[in-house]
C-alpha cells in the first residue's frame, strides 16, 4: 500500500480503536460531560521549581499562601460558592447535625479516598459521578450543608464537584468548599478514616 493511503488507514483505525476502547473501558471518559464546570481557563502554569505550591501548610493562621488562599476564596465566592477554612470545617464536623447527615462531607478523590479521608466523609469522585450519584443524591438533597474537599494545594476538583452538583439541582447555598483540602487536614495532624465510610478504622495523619 502506498504511504499516504496507509497513513490514512492507520489514523482512521486508530481513532476507531480509541473510541471503542474508551467506550468499553470501566475508566473511560464520558465525551459529552463537562468535568470542569465554571472553568474559563486552565489552572496557573506550574512546574517543579515552583516550591510554593508544594510547601506544607502548618495551620490556618500561619499559612505562607495567605494571598493565594484569599484569591481562591474570592474566586469561589464569585461563582456563588461558600469557601470554608479548616476551623469552620471542624466546627461543622462537631455539630450534632453531622451525625444525622444534615451536614454532609464529600471527598472528591479517587483511590486516595480509601487511603484516608475526613472521618465520616462520603466519596464523590466527580469524574465518575454516575457511580456515586444514585446513592448520594437523596442524602445531598436532604442535607442542610454540604462540605466538598479534594487534595488541597492546587487541586480545584472540589470546586468543580460543587458546581457540578449545583448544575444537577443541589441548591448552591448548601454548598461549601473546603479549599485547604486533605493537604491542610493532614498538615495539621488531624485523624483520617481508612477504607470505606464509617469503617471505624481511624489513623492519625502523617504530616
Amino acid at each position: 500500500m502506498k504511504l499516504l493511503p496507509e497513513t490514512l488507514v492507520v489514523a482512521g483505525l486508530g481513532v476507531a480503536f480509541g473510541l471503542l476502547a474508551n467506550a468499553v473501558s470501566p475508566r473511560g471518559l464520558a465525551l459529552g460531560q463537562n468535568y470542569f464546570p465554571g472553568s474559563a481557563s486552565a489552572p496557573p502554569v506550574t512546574a517543579t521549581p515552583n516550591v510554593s505550591s508544594n510547601a506544607p501548610v502548618a495551620n490556618t493562621s500561619t499559612s505562607p499562601t495567605e494571598t493565594a488562599e484569599a484569591a481562591v476564596f474570592a474566586r469561589l465566592q464569585s461563582k456563588g460558592l461558600q469557601p470554608a477554612t479548616l476551623a469552620e470545617v471542624q466546627q461543622l464536623l462537631a455539630d450534632p447535625r453531622f451525625a444525622l447527615d444534615q451536614i454532609v462531607v464529600l471527598d472528591d478523590r479517587d483511590h486516595e479516598y480509601a487511603e484516608g479521608h475526613i472521618p465520616g466523609a462520603y466519596q464523590f469522585f466527580h469524574y465518575r459521578a454516575p457511580e456515586f450519584l444514585p446513592t448520594l443524591l437523596p442524602v445531598l438533597m436532604a442535607a442542610e450543608k454540604i462540605v466538598v474537599y479534594c487534595g488541597g494545594g492546587s487541586c480545584e476538583d472540589s470546586e468543580f464537584a460543587a458546581l457540578m452538583l449545583a448544575e444537577i439541582g443541589v441548591p448552591k447555598d448548601k454548598l461549601v468548599v473546603y479549599a485547604g483540602g486533605m493537604k491542610e487536614w493532614k498538615a495539621n495532624g488531624l485523624p483520617l478514616e481508612l477504607g470505606e465510610r464509617k469503617s471505624g478504622r481511624l489513623a492519625p495523619a502523617t504530616r
Binding site: 497513513t7 468535568y35 486552565a42
Partner: protein, 167 residues
C-alpha cells in the same frame, strides 16, 4: 533463494520495536489513568470545548497504543511511522511552548524546568524531553521515508512467501 538482509534492515526493525514499545507503554500509562491525563491536557489550554477536550484525552492513549502495536508487529508500519511523526511534531511544539511560558512566568532557567507534560513518562526535565522527541521524530521519519522488507516480528517479506522448490 533469498537476498541477504542489509544491516540497515535490522536497525529499522530495532527502531520499530523501540518506538512501538515506547508508544505502547506511554499510551497504556495514560489509558490506565484517564482523569489525570485529562487534567494534563487541559493545562495546555489548547481546547476549551468539553467534548473536544474529553475526546482528546479519551482517544489519544489508545491511538498511541494502536500505532505502537502496528510498529512492533510490522502491520501498516510505514503508515504508523508517519502518523507517529505527525503526532510527535505538534506535541513537541506545545510542550516547548508550555516550557517557555513557565520560563517566562517564573524565570526558571529553561533546562531546569521539569513538569509532567502528559507524555506518559511522568515529570521530566524539559530539555531531555525535547531531545528525546527530536530523536523519535528523526527515527520515525526514517522508517516512514522508505519501504523495507522486514515484516511481522522481523520476518522478511520474501521469507514469508518463499515458493516451494520442486527437485
Amino acid at each position: 533463494m533469498t537476498a541477504p538482509i542489509a544491516k540497515s534492515e535490522y536497525i529499522r526493525l530495532l527502531l520499530r520495536w523501540v518506538i512501538g514499545g515506547l508508544f505502547i507503554y506511554m499510551g497504556l500509562s495514560k489509558a490506565l489513568h484517564p482523569v489525570e491525563f485529562l487534567k494534563l491536557v487541559r493545562q495546555y489550554e489548547m481546547v476549551h470545548q468539553p467534548w473536544l477536550l474529553n475526546s482528546i484525552a479519551a482517544v489519544l492513549p489508545w491511538f498511541e497504543m494502536f500505532c505502537g502495536a502496528a510498529l512492533v508487529t510490522g502491520v501498516l508500519r510505514r503508515g504508523a511511522a508517519l502518523v507517529t511523526v505527525l503526532m510527535l511534531v505538534p506535541f513537541t511544539f506545545i510542550v516547548a511552548r508550555r516550557a517557555f511560558a513557565i520560563h517566562a512566568a517564573q524565570g526558571t532557567p529553561f533546562c531546569d524546568i521539569k513538569f509532567d507534560c502528559g507524555c506518559g513518562s511522568g515529570p521530566m526535565v524539559i530539555c531531555h524531553k525535547l531531545v528525546e522527541n527530536g530523536l523519535l521524530i528523526l527515527a520515525a521519519g526514517w522508517l516512514a521515508a522508505r519501504p523495507d522488507r522486514m515484516l511481522i516480528f522481523g520476518r522478511r517479506k520474501s521469507d514469508a512467501v518463499e515458493p516451494v522448490t520442486v527437485s
